[in-house]
């Protein structure tokens, strides 16, 4: 299996404080599905920030798609970011734009023409059940609807890696399952999915998913609570 993410002894420190992440070493493989769990403050969001290239680590080596992104010149990073879809915990939708324009943003950044993006965006809006709210601003949408728009925005560009921070936190159980099915569908198409969650029930919804557990900024062994894990999480250390 092809390695898409390779962490080696990675640490992350904010300012002069203690390390938020410490000594992380693991590999993520193409087309796999990972859940990232841990209590609040365990470092889940910090790890995701490293994964979606919002920060560089304070120490260690990170390779993504086979390239060292720690020493990579910053002008090469946007190309890598376009290969990664992100669902933020607080959605981070642009409130002055419609649901349609929020979802279309990654395609516009990639230079897709308007005539070519209307179809995929409308299709995805239908899939998340918001076809009739395409022109609605996020502030007029419910929390669950906003979350669905945020997820649609993250997946519209068919990313090679999808990083989601508590993506089902504001939706009802039925919608949570539907969204996970969307992630699973993408995963089947080859996208590596990493979902941070503390909802233990979700872990059982995805066949073959693996779990990474963070505790005090360090990666601990898989709990083994996953349903039929196809491949155990690869820990280097």
């Amino acid at each position: 299996m092809q390695t898409v993410v390779d962490f080696e002894n990675v640490g992350l420190r904010y300012g002069a404080g203690a390390e938020a992440l410490s000594g992380l070493s693991f590999k993520l493989f193409a087309g796999s599905f990972y859940f990232l769990t841990g209590t609040s403050g365990a470092g889940k969001t910090s790890l995701l920030k490293l994964l979606y290239l919002a920060h560089r680590p304070s120490r260690g080596m990170i390779k993504m798609f086979g390239e060292d992104i720690v020493t990579m010149p910053r002008d090469r990073l946007p190309g890598f970011r376009r290969r990664i879809g992100v669902v933020f915990q607080d959605f981070r939708l642009l409130n002055h734009l419609s649901a349609f324009d929020n979802i279309a943003m990654p395609l516009r950044i990639s230079g897709i023409e308007e005539k070519d993006l209307e179809g995929p965006v409308n299709e995805l809006l239908s899939w998340i059940g918001l076809a009739d709210r395409a022109s609605a601003r996020p502030t007029t949408l419910s929390g669950g609807e906003q979350q669905r728009v945020a997820i649609a925005r993250a997946v519209i560009g068919r990313p090679e890696i999808l990083v989601a921070d508590e993506p089902t936190g504001n939706v009802d159980p039925e919608m949570a399952v539907r969204l996970l099915q969307l992630f699973a569908g993408l995963n089947k198409l080859g996208t590596t999915v990493i979902v941070a969650t503390h909802d233990i029930h979700l872990l059982r919804e995805i066949e073959g998913a693996q779990m990474m557990r963070l505790k005090d900024g360090q990666l601990s062994d898989p709990t083994g609570s996953l349903k039929n894990p196809a491949v155990p999480l690869v820990l280097n250390n």
Partner: protein
């Protein structure tokens, strides 16, 4: 990265408002207006100075300080003939006594022609205006003077250069001052753009962060700002240019009423209007470059 984004074509699909900052076009309009005025003054003065300095440098006045009017007339005629015979002279124009009276009247405040003409009150010099083909250097002037002194020992040569030089020194100083003013105005415009773009960056920080994490390049983001700054700068520039031209027209019409002196010779050459028309365009381009520099500098601070 040379990725072409489709965002910049319609930035309403990116940012919430249509402008970088409310007052920026108006500040640029004022800057362009002032630059147009300063530039127009500089161009007109420089053109006038360059046109007149050579003409005046080739001019000289010959004075014959002879008290006896009959002898003076005779000397004027002979010196005029002598000067016309020189290959270096272009025109020789002896002034009549009436012309000399008219010339002196504003300074001496006398209008009693008879008193002048009878030579009772003030003995008049005979004056000959000479336009040379070349600028007469000291050697040529001395040669001419020697030749004329053989006809009239009291003759003397006044070059226009002697009295006009301080005036042109002053004009040159004005030109340097105006050039400095134009540079200061360009610097002030740049500072305005930097502040406006920084303010806009703060306003749109959330949008930019999201775009950045989605893979927007610095070029894509700076193009969005450049486009907005361009719209504001060219709008402000056009307003400033129109107001500046109207003001120049107004001042020109007043200046045309001044019929004598150097002021009447100050006019805008044709190429001056082209330079003035370039000012709002150059201010616009400067604003775009400054916006690009500001955005890229700010973006470099984030990963």
């Amino acid at each position: 990265m040379g990725l072409k984004s489709t965002l910049a074509r319609d930035d309403s699909k990116t940012f919430s408002d249509g402008r970088i900052a409310g007052p920026m076009p108006w500040v640029i309009a004022i800057m362009v207006f002032l630059t147009i005025l300063a530039g127009a003054a500089g161009i007109a003065i420089a053109d006038s100075a360059s046109q007149n300095s050579e003409i005046l440098a080739r001019k000289m006045t010959v004075q014959i300080l002879e008290e006896d009017p009959v002898a003076r007339d005779n000397q004027r005629t002979r010196i005029s003939e002598y000067l016309r015979a020189l290959p270096q002279t272009e025109t020789v124009r002896p002034l009549s006594d009436a012309d000399v009276v008219e010339l002196l009247e504003p300074w001496l405040g006398l209008n009693d022609d008879a008193a002048f003409e009878s030579n009772d009150l003030i003995p008049l010099p005979a004056i000959i205006d000479v336009q040379m083909k070349v600028i007469a250097d000291e050697k040529l002037r001395n040669q001419m003077l020697l030749g004329m002194q053989s006809i009239a020992p009291s003759v003397r040569i006044d070059t226009q250069e002697s009295w006009i030089a301080p005036l042109y020194d002053l004009m040159r100083s004005f030109i340097y001052l105006i050039f400095g003013l134009v540079l200061l105005l360009a610097a002030a415009t740049s500072a305005t753009v930097v502040l406006a773009v920084r303010s806009a960056l703060d306003t749109h920080r959330n949008t930019l962060d999201i775009m950045h994490l989605m893979g927007s390049t610095d070029s894509q983001i700076s193009r969005l700002f450049q486009r907005r700054v361009a719209v504001d700068a060219f709008f402000g520039g056009a307003i400033g240019f129109i107001l500046g031209c109207l003001t120049i027209w107004f001042i020109s019409s007043r200046l045309n009423n001044i019929v004598s002196g150097v002021a009447s010779q100050i006019s805008m050459p044709w190429y001056g209007w082209i330079i003035l028309a370039l000012i709002p365009l150059l201010m616009g381009v400067l604003s775009i470059l400054i916006a690009r520099w500001t955005v890229r500098r700010a973006m470099k601070k984030i990963l």
